[in-house]
Assembly symmetry: D2
Homo-oligomer: 270 residues x 4
């Protein structure tokens, strides 16, 4: 894990007045004590970034740099001097900004988590930059830890149910009335996980658009007399901020190009 | 009552070497795809046995023998003549009747599924009889197929969540107001599956006793902003009859002593 | 309430061997003791009628007559002699059979519950026959008692939420994959109940067709930080048989033309 | 801290004579439909007060004064000069602080919403002060609007089910593992609403303490074949802040002593 070069922080006191969050810091890597504080840079300062900003002090992060779209045109604010005291950074910007930001961060050498979506066309280019520079890099479209576990369980469950023809699978996802795409990207990913055992035509997917629901996904199997469901419910976007911070701590001392789904239950090779 | 119905039909099913994926199909609507019909004996004729009786014709079984507690004292009605045209039998009697029944069925040589509970003290004796005689034998306390999948998924999920300290596990089971024991046996089994990763004190188990609920088990993990649940709901005792018939078809052409949990996703050794 | 002219019944013993149902007989009209046994005729003998047949003995009914489509062409089997010992009857036939049956039952004078659907075109004619003859008559499209309460609560709740613009209403109904119409008739009725306070465009209705679900209706209101739901779930068609028997007891000593929704919380005029 | 921000804006809202149906609208996106802006004082600055502070600008409130426990000992910071530009205030302090605060606010004459609990012993005294001074006053233990509707619906539903003995009522409430009391105050209030029709012994109440659940209450009725539930779920404490702001707008132009439960569907006497 990255050492913390300057554990004293003038920003730590900022957490005093914030909406409380339980400091349920994952101490699995430091049993019995708090994890080392990591110094964080936020690239982008929209809704998700502000949620990360609110949560970070409760998860053992010290925010040292915040770059906005105005202050960081073409990644101009990313340079060695500004990132001198930064252990890891998180990018929640927009699709067009990702490649320029990565070009700069690769030079600086700071590990980075990218939660921004909409840059699939640059995926190959970004991967090349990351691999060549040797930085640590994690990206994903849904940073909820619970959704990642759900995805893995759907795969395991689908395989188990493949032999049990008494059960019919289904998928329901519920989001607020303002969400435009349907099914959700996460629902489509769950269907992909099930595809080796369930033909698309055999998996009815229902999208509910109603109220203000942050996001619920239910993958179920229903027989004549019983039902089994795997369900994930988000209460707020804090769920995504948690995952981004989890990934930031994970990548802080690693190198390589990772999808978020790879980092859960990751077994270090010996 | 001990009736032997239509003894003329042939034993076509012994050649079936694994549970057919068509076993769910109501053979009246898909005659061309039906699995081979198996000739079934019911030992005991209480609630569960009558539910098996109702369901069996829809699952490709032909009931040839029904033994009641009155007609089968000490297993007296189990003999070669009566079971001549029986491929497999299902025992839903009472704990005291199991060992005597098994002693007789071992002589007759018919594969058997035991759904009766309350004979744990005779488990060793019964296992000995089964092994020596070489009959096929499946037993279990909860014959719901969905509960078996749930049990396996709880194990997989608990392992995945072990590293994610942001999530707290819990277990809720709901049954009708007349159920006397709490937590349910299935809830205790789920807790046992989780035990390698969750200390008992860290797993709150809540039992709801209300209304007429046939049985619901929810194993969940809740973080500050998201919840993941694995939930199984029974709508009626048909769920248990389905599993007993599934096990009957599975054991019909096998030998050996099996727990119901072993037969799902069973991989035949080559 | 109708007196029972012949309380002894040769059919009562038939219940001994049936799947058990708790005898949770509604004794509200006879506090502290079982209600009087009513002698019942079943007109029609399809799925729903057979479910009524199974349940009736557990609800204080003695089945005296069962008419099938073969035995009752054009209502020919409905005559005074056959219905001499019948207190009330239940019709689960098909739309075309209802008017002919009512013409005959009006002559016989037996109160009747009609659970059959598909005779809307004859509603006026049937009402005329009922009114003229003075028999008791109850009809409805969904005989679940819980759905009736749900319908009334949706009305009350919608009115309360009319002022609370922070909440957005929605409606989700879930039925088995074989149900062809969507939304369900019950969902449309719930929307009608809400119509005085919610414009149709403001009420998203989602139909889930999956598995074998007997029927779930959820009417909810979701705000940014909270959700309120009214939900009804059927576990089996017993729910409809219960309501039909409830209606049969209710109409047994009454006269007049009633919709099932009118009989809950009915206040007798003094 | 006691800040007075931008004292120049006028008290436009006194003419508002009922809660505006547009109060839910984020005024930044619908400027033409916004309700009149109200100038708000926060008395207390703990968790709930900070949530009100976050939400208030989105609900048409302008925060002018924030008093902390340090700045407002014995209500010392509540005086005419400080509250000159305040239309309404919200108190989230502690039980001991309520009576002193009310004594001062009664002199200043500002309408007030009290979300603080733990001052039941002073209820009579506070009511006297309010009545004598003629200020507007709303108090309550649970400011969730959804819970208020739930409470009213439980009453209506319980009455309807009183005749339907096939259904058994139950109550389940779920809160985070850190909540010490059980059942929750809201669950007890729901049971009180049901008391005229359900004896306490006939209403099983189950408390689930697990994870981080902000609060779920389910009042259900279960029969052998169907279930009806009324369920309220909070996703965050924003639900309580919404209700406090709703009450603040409601009381801003009224006089009198009100419980929060009285203000929903309030019918102005003509």
């Amino acid at each position: 894990m990255s050492t913390v070069r300057n554990p004293g922080s003038e920003l730590a006191a900022k957490s005093v007045d914030r909406p409380s969050v339980n400091s349920a810091v994952d101490s699995s890597t430091n049993p019995g004590k708090s994890p080392a504080t990591l110094r964080l840079a936020l690239i982008g300062h929209g809704r998700m970034a502000r949620e990360v900003e609110r949560l970070a002090p409760h998860r053992g992060f010290d925010i040292r740099v915040i770059l906005t779209s105005a202050s960081n045109v073409d990644g101009a604010a990313i340079h060695a001097e500004a990132f001198r005291d930064v252990d890891v950074c998180i990018d929640f910007t927009n699709g067009a900004a990702v490649a320029p930001n990565i070009r700069r961060i690769a030079v600086v050498g700071t590990p980075i988590v990218v939660g921004t979506t909409g840059w699939n066309a640059q995926l190959g280019e970004v991967r090349g930059i990351v691999t060549q520079s040797g930085i640590g890099f994690v990206y994903g479209a849904n940073f909820s830890l619970g959704v990642q576990v759900l995805t893995q369980l759907v795969r395991a469950a689908t395989e188990k149910f493949a032999e049990l023809k008494l059960f019919s699978p289904y998928l329901i996802e519920t989001h607020h009335q303002f969400k435009k795409d349907a099914p959700s990207g996460t629902a489509l990913e769950l269907a992909r996980q099930a595809a080796p055992w369930i033909e698309p035509a055999a998996l009815p997917i229902t999208s509910v658009r109603a109220g203000h629901f942050p996001g619920t996904h239910e993958f179920g199997w229903d027989a004549e007399a019983e039902t089994l469901t795997l369900q994930h419910t988000s209460r707020s976007r804090q769920a995504f901020a948690e995952g981004a911070l989890y990934a930031a701590r994970w990548i802080a001392a690693r190198k390589g190009f990772f999808h978020f789904s790879e980092i859960l239950n990751f077994q270090e090779e010996s």
